[in-house]
Amino acid sequence: MNKDIQVSISQKDDVSILQIKGDVTAVTGETIEAAYQKVSAAGAKKILLYFDKDGYINSGGIAILIGIASESRKNGQIIRVTGLSGHFQKIFNMVGLTKYTEIFQTEELALKDF
């Protein structure tokens, strides 16, 4: 287990929430990928990625998230995102991830009308 990241899985109605604490990199991203695969295997169609405002995301982590976005399309899943700092919301926009995942300012907003 990578000590730089913790991913916990919870459920709210039909939404699977992956709470991500720590840095999102090529190495720690494997933990996120594993959590995503776990909820997918359980049949999740709505997934919320809840990031850590103090965590850092590098290009290796971005690649992991793109991989998840790609798989989610094949699986007919909707991915929403919350918890990102303003800087990383900008980064998501820059690389185009916002074409595949919608960013919400709070968990409450992300879960509304999901």
Binding site: D4, T25, A26, V27, Y56, N58, S59, G60, I62, A63, I64, I66, G67, A69, S70, R73, S85, G86, H87, I91, M94, V95, G96, L97, K99, Y100
Partner: protein, 142 residues
């Protein structure tokens, strides 16, 4: 701001994760110079990506090598030079997320794009001592 010696230099091991040391050092210097929080975050990400390229592609994660970071403070700008001991990196085309999500390209390859997007100027040059240098400049806006 006038400094007799306007450079800060550090070396980090070619181990993923140590880019965070360079990030925090760059942030600290930028804060001292009066950059905004937003601009400091831009710089941190750019420095992280340059260091990761140096560690992974320049130095091939050889733990016998180091990545050198030199910060040069001037009145209106901060330059951060990241040097590896490798043979340089290939320039890449602008990455396409559409291709990557469609599986037509590997998901990685965002580092140089992010660096170019986040700083005012960037260059990639061979170093006179060998290796490759990524030089990034951010301007202090009044």
């Amino acid at each position: 701001m006038v400094m007799a010696d306007n450079k800060v230099e550090l070396h980090i091991p070619s181990i993923m994760g140590f880019e965070k040391v360079a990030m925090e050092c760059s942030a600290s210097v930028a804060k001292k110079m009066g950059f905004t929080e937003d601009r400091i975050e831009d710089l941190k990400t750019a420095v992280a990506e340059a260091c990761l390229n140096a560690i992974e592609h320049g130095n091939k994660m050889d733990t016998k090598t180091k990545v050198g970071i030199t910060l040069t403070v001037e009145e209106t700008k901060l330059q951060v030079a990241v040097k590896d001991q490798g043979k340089g990196i290939d320039q890449v085309l602008i990455p396409s997320i559409e291709k990557k999500v469609a599986g037509k390209d590997k998901p990685r390859g965002w580092g140089i794009f992010l660096i170019k997007s986040l700083v005012n100027e960037v260059s990639f040059e061979p170093s006179p001592e060998g290796g490759n240098v990524t030089k990034m400049i951010i301007y202090l806006e009044k």
